[in-house]
Amino acid sequence: MKKLLSMLLIAAMVLSMTACSSGTDAADDSSDAAAAEEGDTAEDAAEGSAEGGTFVIGGLGPLTGDAASYGISVMQGGQIAVDEINAAGGVQVGDATYMLELNFADDEASEDTVITAYNSLMDSGINALMGAVTSGACLAVIEQSSQDGILQITPSGSALGCTEYDNTFRLCFTDPLQGTTLADYAVDNLGASKIAVIYNNADEYSTGIMEAFVEEAEAKGAEIVANEAFVTGDVDFRTQLTSIKATDAELICVPAYYQDATYITQQAKDLEMDIPFIGSDGWDGVLGTVTDVTTVEGAVFLSPFLASDPAVADFVEAYEAAYNATPDQFAADGYDTVYVIKAAMEQAGSIESADLIAAMTEIQVDGVTGSVTFDATGEPNKAAKFVKIVNGEYTAME
């Protein structure tokens, strides 16, 4: 009986292994086929007429789930840019003109779903990739995109590893740079000497910022009086907040996404704590999820974009007209990413992925998130901006 069982198990294992390998083969075949097909159509288009054709920008980001607001914003911001560019006659590449098209897929901010979403985008034929919107999903997909050799620009994936490969670029700040910038601001501008931190230690974005923040704050002479962790999906932060309450913290740094920030600030108010908060750029959107805006009053967070800034009024107007909502930094990131891709196409004079990637370090784009250039490692060069919540509104800090 035992022997029979072990034989059965072995048979099952062998079967599953062959099934696996044939599965990957099939996937490889199909992506090869798609790549070949795509190359053909692109060539056809280039040879066939001087009019060019359609340049498809694939998008990856969460359109559902906890982080949905980010993905939807990037998609809508990107769409505004695409519509503007097309209305102005498309992109001039050499002597051909290309119309842009945005094909955005939902990755649910999940490291599994993003692979499926990426594969279906590649199968449908895309020329450049804007995404992924969140760091975790972006890290999960870059290895495959580097093998496919496609230009990938993440509008908002801030984990250090997001630009690991030659084909990967980033429009926003990195996590460590955010942490350092936040610590400088907390110590130099807010004069905090005793700081508490609450971070998500199941999330690379949150952990990356926390580590750099703690290091820089301590280097500047501030004391980290409490360093409290939580994990993704937690809704109860009373324990961590109560521990912080027992210290003499003057400031709480929360490098996390807005949904976490919503729970944390609301529960801090329930516990009658009035310590000010400082947050990372994941806080953007927090006013849409709090039930009581006084819970986040006075909070400061890092954000490269503010809709009330007169310099970006045209973009804000177009966005409000199209979506009946005020654009946030993610919408601005999406918008700028499309313009970066446009600039790379014009600079390269070609729509081949290798030429586009080579052109990235030669362009400068004055976007709604500031003026940006890229270095060879894929990192952007641009200045930091802070936003403070005053009277329930986002307000730019000078």
């Binding site: 409290e228 009373r238 324990t239 961590q240 027992a246 949904q259």
Partner: protein, 292 residues
């Protein structure tokens, strides 16, 4: 010291929600002898029903609470009639799997209707917080504790003092004999599910008043924790569920505060294992000899 007391109060506030959910689990298990894994999702339905009543239909709060309770009671009876009743003579495993199926069905229906994006929801309980010697207890925590205590007392009285309660106890002892004595078994089990679901609705309402955010999976984790609480206290035992819930909340809070946030769940479940090794029937459960 003040901090320890504050942490204990945090534990009490999560623990009382676990206790309220555990009451429903234990009630259904005690009478119908089945573990209703969909219980956590009925909490979610209760929470969404309150949201629909208050935010979408603009009902007065009392009416919205009533709506939420009625929706859950009807849902509980329907689930029992459709999914569990045809399996009454099937092995317990089949019923358990069906319950898990119902749980996924409810979650995905909510996902379909309300989408996955969390919905912010302003608490309907506006009770001021109480400060004693610098220690603050939020209003919602007090209301939750009081509601859990009241529910436990009413439930105990109902089961032990009323005719319907005696019928329930008879059904739980021996369905066949109860039927011979003229008890309508189907009606009694329906009543059990209705009461269990009403408890779930109350738990759902209190849960979103504490956390102020709705999502389709909100009932899943509290549901599992409450199940653990019910087992810890002795499943089938009403005061045991209450005790189990509170103990679980306290252990969780202390583990988070003084040992490690990441390990707190491991510690909670570790305690369960230890309790079950020492007292297999739970803290207040009675060991019953199975008659062969």
């Amino acid at each position: 010291m003040k901090n320890v007391i504050e942490q204990l109060i945090n534990g009490l506030s999560t623990g009382s929600i676990y206790a309220l959910i555990a009451l429903g689990y234990t009630m259904v298990y005690g009478i119908a002898r089945m573990i209703n894994f969909a219980h956590g999702d009925i909490i979610m339905v209760g929470a969404y029903a309150l949201y629909v009543g208050v935010s979408l239909m603009n009902l007065p709060i009392a009416a919205a609470i009533l709506l939420s309770i009625i929706v859950c009671a009807v849902l509980g009876i329907t689930v029992e009639k459709v999914a569990y009743k045809p399996l009454r003579k099937a092995p317990p495993l089949a019923v358990l799997i069906t319950a898990i199926g119902v749980s996924f069905l409810l979650q995905n229906l909510a996902l379909l209707i309300f989408k996955a994006t969390p919905i912010p929801f302003q608490s309907v309980i506006q009770v001021p917080s109480v400060s004693i010697g610098g220690i603050t207890i939020s209003g919602v925590t007090i209301v939750t504790l009081v509601m859990t205590l009241i529910s436990m007392v009413i439930l105990t009285l109902f089961i032990n003092q009323t005719r319907a309660g005696s019928a329930m106890r008879a059904v739980s002892e021996d369905k066949g004999a109860a039927e011979l004595m003229g008890i309508n078994v189907n009606r009694t089990i329906s009543q059990t599910f209705a009461i269990g679901s009403v408890l779930a609705a109350i738990a759902g309402i209190l849960y979103i008043c504490q956390y102020q955010s709705l999502r389709p999976t909100l009932g899943a984790l509290p549901g599992i924790k409450a199940f653990v609480a019910a087992v810890l206290g002795g499943i089938g035992n009403v005061p045991g569920a209450m005790l189990g819930g509170i103990v679980l909340g306290l252990i969780e809070s202390i583990a988070k505060a003084y040992i490690s946030t990441e390990l707190s769940d491991a510690i909670v479940f570790g305690v369960l294992v230890v309790v079950l090794l020492v007292r297999p029937s739970g803290l207040l459960g009675k060991l019953k000899n199975e008659k062969v």
